[in-house]
Structure formats: C-alpha cells, structure tokens
C-alpha cells in the first residue's frame, strides 16, 4: 500500500506541475512510513517540502497554495496529530468555496495515517474519520488495500474539492485478519495488492462489494474489512462484505441494496462506537431498509475509551467481537 500511495503521488507530480507535496519529514527523509520516499529527489525541494512541526500551518499554507493555483497534497504524520489543523480544515478549507460563492477554492488533499494495531498507544492509533464526516464541504476517504489506495489518491488529488484521505496504517504492509499472533501476510500474496504501474482512478463515492453473499451484509472500511471477512468465514456465513471506501460522499445505494437483499446488517469500524460513523450508517440503513430488516442492526467498534498501549488487543474490535455481532444478527428473528 505504501508503494501504491507513493506511485499515485509520483504519477500526479509527473502529469501535473501544479501538484506539490508538503509535510513533516516527508522530503529528504521520505516520510516516517516511507510513503513519499524518493519524491524530493525526483521533483526537487520546491515541490516536495519538508515543513516545521505545525499541522495548522501545513494545512493553512496548503490552502494558500491551492488558492494560488497549486494542487497541494499535505501529509499529517498521524491522524492523532490532525487536531491543531482542524480550524483550518473545518472553518477554512471546507467552507472557502461556500463563503465566496465559488470565487475561491483550494483543491487540497490531506493524507493522514490512522488506526491502531501497531503498538502506537493512545496518540498514534486513533481513527477520527467520523469527526470529518460531520463537516460540510470535505470529502472523506479511507482505502483498505493498495489497489484502491492508488486509484482513490489519484482521484483525490484531481478533485477540486478538499479531501481528507485516511490511510489505515495496520494494513500498510499487508491485509490483517485481526490476529496479531499470526505471521504477517504481505500484499504481494493478495489480489488487491496487485497495482498497475500507470495512471488510473477509482471514483470517490463508490463502495466496493468485496465479497458477494446472501445471508448478511457487513458494512465496513479500512483495517476492519479483512477482520470481518475472517470472522464471517470462521462462522461459515455467506456474508456480503461492503467496503465503504468513501464516507463523504457515501454510496448508500450499494449498501441499502445489499441490506434489502440479505435483511441483516452488521456495521464494523475500528473507531470508537459512540457517535462513530457507524451511527450514521445505521440510521441511514434503518431509514431505507426497515421493512426488509430481519434483525436489529449491530454495530462493532472500538470501545469508548482512548486506545490503550498495553491493552491494544483487548481494545481492538477483532474477530471475536465481529463474530459475536454476526451471531446476534443471525439468531435474531
């Protein structure tokens, strides 16, 4: 996934001289997760900028650059560090087009690694995506695999609206089924790990049916896609698994068509439960599918606590938590 993201930026920088990349440690060093590796060598210090440690300034500068005709891709090193930039994102970036009735806008992409399962403790593990979905005027994207990551990042960079692009770092190097004791699987052994070299996009706002199924719909995204897949397999369920991929705009049609077909639905994300994106999904599905539902919708999420360093796997919504929800939804009549 790291190479796929790198390739997306490389291709866009090659195709469009207005694309610039900025962030902490992203230039000479190539980023703490190596996502921008080699870009500064190739495109120079004026297009790949190392910045001071000031996320609010990084986003503000990106807005100014965007207003002046550039197409900036800003990296916030961890999603946990994005909060100092939130005024610039919420009040400025998201609303510039609106408040100027379309006269000014800034096509900024903000990339930020999110999620836990990497021994990051409570300040390197967060999944704050729901907060951003509550703000009018920004698109919110989270890929779960290298193929989608590249196609979505190219689409995000080309998009004239601002995009916050979450990268679930637990799946940077391979799909993860939720069991930290199993040997790591590399993306090279996975179909979605195969990434074309050239340019392609995945439209923002389209969910992906990862696996077609008939008994239950699992709506999920990011790291949880593979956890859910493994949990359904362990129960021998013919589950339809939908990777949301884009939260704003949301492809509700794909989701509700599936739930109307299966009549049962489990929603799973790594972020905390209360007011999480699952709440929006659950409400929207209920509004559209109520008469077809055979059982109450179940939500699987992280506990409503910070992500504890020592109890990471008790916190993480692993296969057991997903399986319990699946059983509940299957047993209910």
């Amino acid at each position: 996934m790291i190479q796929a993201l790198n390739s997306a930026m490389d291709i866009m920088m090659m195709r469009d001289p207005s694309v610039v990349v900025l962030g902490e440690d992203i230039g000479y060093f190539g980023g703490v997760f190596r996502v921008t590796d080699g870009l500064q060598r190739k495109y120079g210090e004026h297009r790949v900028l190392d910045t001071p440690i000031a996320e609010g300034a990084i986003v503000a500068a990106a807005i100014g650059m965007g207003v002046n005709g550039l197409r900036p891709v800003a990296e916030v090193q961890f999603a946990d560090y994005i909060y100092p930039a939130c005024d610039q994102i919420f009040s400025e970036l998201a609303r510039l087009r609106y408040r100027t009735a379309g006269e000014f806008w800034a096509p900024v992409t903000i990339r930020t690694p999110c999620g836990g399962g990497i021994r990051g403790g409570q300040t390197h593990s967060q999944s704050p995506e729901a907060i951003f979905t509550h703000v009018c005027g920004i698109k919110v994207v989270m890929p779960s695999n290298p193929y989608d990551a590249k196609g979505l990042l190219i689409a995000a960079i080309e998009d004239d609206d601002p995009v916050v692009f979450f990268e679930p770092k637990r799946v940077y190097n391979g799909p993860f089924d939720g069991n930290p004791n199993k040997a790591a699987v590399s993306w090279s052994e996975h179909a979605k790990g195969e990434v074309p070299d050239g340019y392609y996009t995945i439209p923002i706002g389209q969910a992906d049916i990862v696996r077609a199924g008939s008994q239950v719909t699992i709506v999920t995204y990011g790291t949880m896609v593979y956890v859910c897949q493994a949990a359904a397999e362990s129960l021998g369920l013919d589950a339809e698994i939908i990777d949301v991929r884009s939260m704003v705009p949301l492809d509700l049609d794909t989701i509700t068509a599936s739930v109307n077909k299966t009549g049962r639905c489990v929603i799973a994300h790594e972020a905390t439960l209360f007011s999480g994106f699952g709440a929006e999904l659950s409400a929207s599905i209920q509004e559209a599918c109520f008469w077809k539902l055979e059982a109450p919708i179940q939500r699987v999420a992280g506990w409503d606590t910070p992500y504890p360093h020592a109890f990471e796997w008790e916190y993480f919504p692993g296969q057991a938590r997903v399986a319990a929800a699946l059983k509940t939804v299957m047993e209910s009549r």
């Binding site: 610039v20 004026h46 297009r47 900028l49 910045t51 001071p52 000031a54 609010g56 300034a57 503000a60 500068a61 990106a62 807005i63 100014g64 650059m65 965007g66 207003v67 002046n68 005709g69 550039l70 100092p84 005024d87 610039q88 009040s91 400025e92 510039l96 087009r97 609106y98 408040r99 100027t100 009735a101 379309g102 006269e103 000014f104 806008w105 009018c136 005027g137 698109k139 004239d160 609206d161 705009p249 949301l250």
Partner: protein
C-alpha cells in the same frame, strides 16, 4: 526584586470617567528612524522594530529618509480614498442603526493603513485582509454598490447571503475572502506567497490582522513559515490598541512591541505610525521591494487607534474613556494628510468640504441603487435553494434531496 511569584494582569492606562492617558506609548520624532537598504540583514535592522517610523512632523511637513516623495495628485488620491472609506463607514453605520443591515464594522482612525498600503502595492499582489480593511476595496475600485449588496445579503450579494456583513471577497481584484474566524488568513497568505515563489512569479502576498488576533496560533504559524521559507509576503499587525474590550497589553504588547516579533522569528520588523499616510506608504514600498527581490518577508506593526466601537454590537464607553480618540497622540490619519496637502499648497478646507459632499452624494446614490436589489426584509430575494450550492463543486444527491425537502417545507 520581588521575593514571591506574582500574577500580573495587564491594565489599560485609563478607564471610563478617567482622563485618557497615553503615556505608555513610545514614539520617535518624525524623520528620526533610519531607512536601511531593502536587502539589509535582519540582525542589522532590529532598531526598526522598536522605533516608530514617522514622516509627517507636527508642522505637517514630510521629513526624513522615509519620505516617499509622492506627487501631489497621488496624495490627493490617497486622501480621497481615505475620505471615501470614512464617508462609506459613516453611512453604513447609520443604515445599521436604522435596522436596514444587521451588522457593521467601521475603520475610523485606521484608514491610512489600508489605503496607503494598497496604493504602495501592485495590482497583481494578493491581499488577505481582516475585517477592518475596507480601504483596500476603495483603492482597488470595487463599486460601492457591490459592497452594499453584500452588506444587505441581497440578490446581488457576492456571498449569496452566506456571510455576515463586511466579509467581502473579490477574486478579480485579488482580495481574498474574510473568514470571520480571526487570523486564519495570515498563514494562508504565506502559503499563497510560497506558491508564487514556487511558480517563479513576482507577485507578493499581503495580510492584515489586529494586535488582538496576533495571540492566535495562526499568527505564529504564519511568522514561522514566512521566515523558514523566506516567503514573499508582508504581514501587518494593525495595533489599534483594542481587541473589543481588552487593550493591547493582553495580546502581549506591554513588554515588547509587536514589530519586535519580526526579528524574533528572523524576519524584518518595522514599527510604523499607522496614522501617517506617508510613513505607511514608505514602509510598505520598502517591504514589498524586499519581498519581490527575494530578500524575505516583513512584519509591519501599524501603531494606530480604533476610533470607533469594535462593531455595531459593541459599546466602548463601558471600558474606555469617551474622549480618548481625540487625545490619541498620533492624531487622525485623514486630518494629517489633509493638513500636509494644505501646507504644500495643494489642498484647502473648501476643497475638502466639497470633496466630502461629493463622496457623500456618491455613497447615497450607490445605496439607492443597492436597495433596488433587495434588502434582508424587503424587495427581491435570492432563491434560498442557493444555500445548497458551493458546498462541493457539484451539488451531491444528498443535498439535492434536502433542497427538495426545504422547498416542500416552504410550500
């Protein structure tokens, strides 16, 4: 030496009912501050951050190395723009009092900052204003009717009824949108300037905020990025002494000048008499040339005074003496330029009165036209359905549905 720690709470030098006391204000005689080369190193010009650059002396003469030697017609244009700003402000204040607009903010006493600076810049330079910079619009020639339509949130409002009055923008005139959130434009201006440098263009960015807003992180972000990347930008702190009710000591101005933050961040800092049109013009010209040559950014502190209330929602008589603006030691910017022109033999009280009357008529005529496009309460009105536009470039299906719902709700 105090023997115990203590908490200091800054206090203004006079409160309502007391005699205005400006003894805290450190000034320099007109003509005293040196004018260094525009390529000077920051470490060699630290004195500019603590002295006060002044050109107009008490006899209304222009003196010293910062004298910009403008021709009389340019000075008259400057005076006209300042006067227009003031006349416009006065009339809009009255329309607010009559309930025709919801809110207004005057720039009384600060007109020289926007007008002199806009005149010293090039049309291609990008301006990132705060909410008391309406003089920029006067200099760059936005029709008054357009500004009024924004204040009225009517059918010709550039913001389509989405913004509070005075939050103008003008892409064609290269004036950025006013947010309403303080100081956010400062680091954005730096980003704009960085992009200009990346593209190899020689337009510069210029931004303004009040000394109160310099407390925001965005101010410090802007200073840091401007300095680190030596961005072609001019950052202006308009020190009008008051942030609504708290005086400039609460923004950190008691111990050290705001201009001194420039050298603190490694950039030029200039403290200028903000009510001296010629001095403001000269330091802006210097800073613009410095930025354009790649010699780095400049922080300019304009020492001025907020002559009016913060906004139409504010009553300054509750926290400062009523007559303090009259006692402000740096005088009034319009009067000072007027008196200078009179001293030069290029202006008169009669001409001034005639110009004032002419501008007043111009503003009145513009208002008459503006209200034909609707007011908040009467006349033509924008389609409320427009509120669903410009959230994204395309209106998404979700908002199309909500727009239909809103229309059904309205019958």
């Amino acid at each position: 030496m105090p023997r115990r720690s203590r908490l200091h709470t800054p206090k203004p030098h006079s409160r309502p009912g007391e005699k205005p006391d400006f003894s805290y204000l450190e000034t320099s005689p007109a003509g005293a501050a040196p004018r260094p080369d525009v390529n000077a190193r920051v470490r060699d010009i630290g004195n500019l951050a603590t002295e006060l650059v002044r050109v107009l002396d008490d006899e209304h003469r222009a003196v010293g190395p910062w004298h910009p030697h403008l021709d009389a017609p340019d000075l008259q244009i400057g005076l006209k723009h300042m006067l227009l700003t003031r006349v416009f402000d006065d009339r809009m204040q009255r329309t607010q009092r009559q309930g025709k607009i919801t809110f207004y903010m005057r720039s009384l006493g600060e007109e020289a900052v926007s007008v002199a600076q806009a005149m010293a810049l090039r049309p291609g330079d990008m301006l990132f204003p705060s909410y008391r910079n309406q003089g920029l619009y006067m200099v760059r020639g936005r029709p008054l009717v357009d500004l009024m339509c924004q204040l009225l949130s009517n059918t010709r409002d550039m913001c389509k009824g989405r913004q509070l009055p005075v939050m103008y923008h003008w892409a064609a005139g290269r004036i950025f949108s006013i947010s309403g959130n303080l100081a956010t434009q400062f680091p954005q201006a730096v980003g704009w300037a960085m992009a200009a440098a990346i593209k190899g263009e020689d337009d510069i960015a210029v931004s303004w905020l009040g000394e109160g807003s310099s407390a925001e992180a965005d101010f410090h972000h802007a200073m840091l990025f401007a300095s680190v990347y030596q961005a072609p930008v001019i950052l202006n702190v308009v020190n009008n002494q008051w942030a609504i009710s708290t005086f400039q000591g609460f923004a950190g101005g008691e111990q050290r000048s705001f201009a001194a933050r420039g050298p603190g961040y490694g950039m030029a800092g200039i403290r200028v008499d903000g009510n001296d049109f010629l001095a403001v013009y000269a330091v802006t010209q210097w800073a613009a040339e410095r930025a354009r040559r790649g010699a780095g950014p400049t922080l300019i502190e304009h020492v001025t005074y907020r002559g009016a209330a913060h906004s139409t929602s504010d009553d300054p008589s509750r926290y400062r003496p009523k007559d303090d603006y009259e006692k402000w030691p740096l005088g009034d910017p319009v009067d000072r330029l007027k008196n200078h022109l009179i001293a030069l033999g290029e202006w008169s009280e009669e001409k001034h009165a005639a110009l004032t009357a002419e501008l007043d008529a111009q503003v009145a005529a513009a208002w008459k036209e503006a209200v034909t496009h609707g007011t908040l309460g009467e006349g033509p009105r924008l389609d409320p359905g427009t509120m669903f536009e410009d959230i994204f470039k395309e209106v998404p299906a979700r908002l199309v549905r909500q727009r239909e719902q809103m229309r059904a709700e309205q019958g």
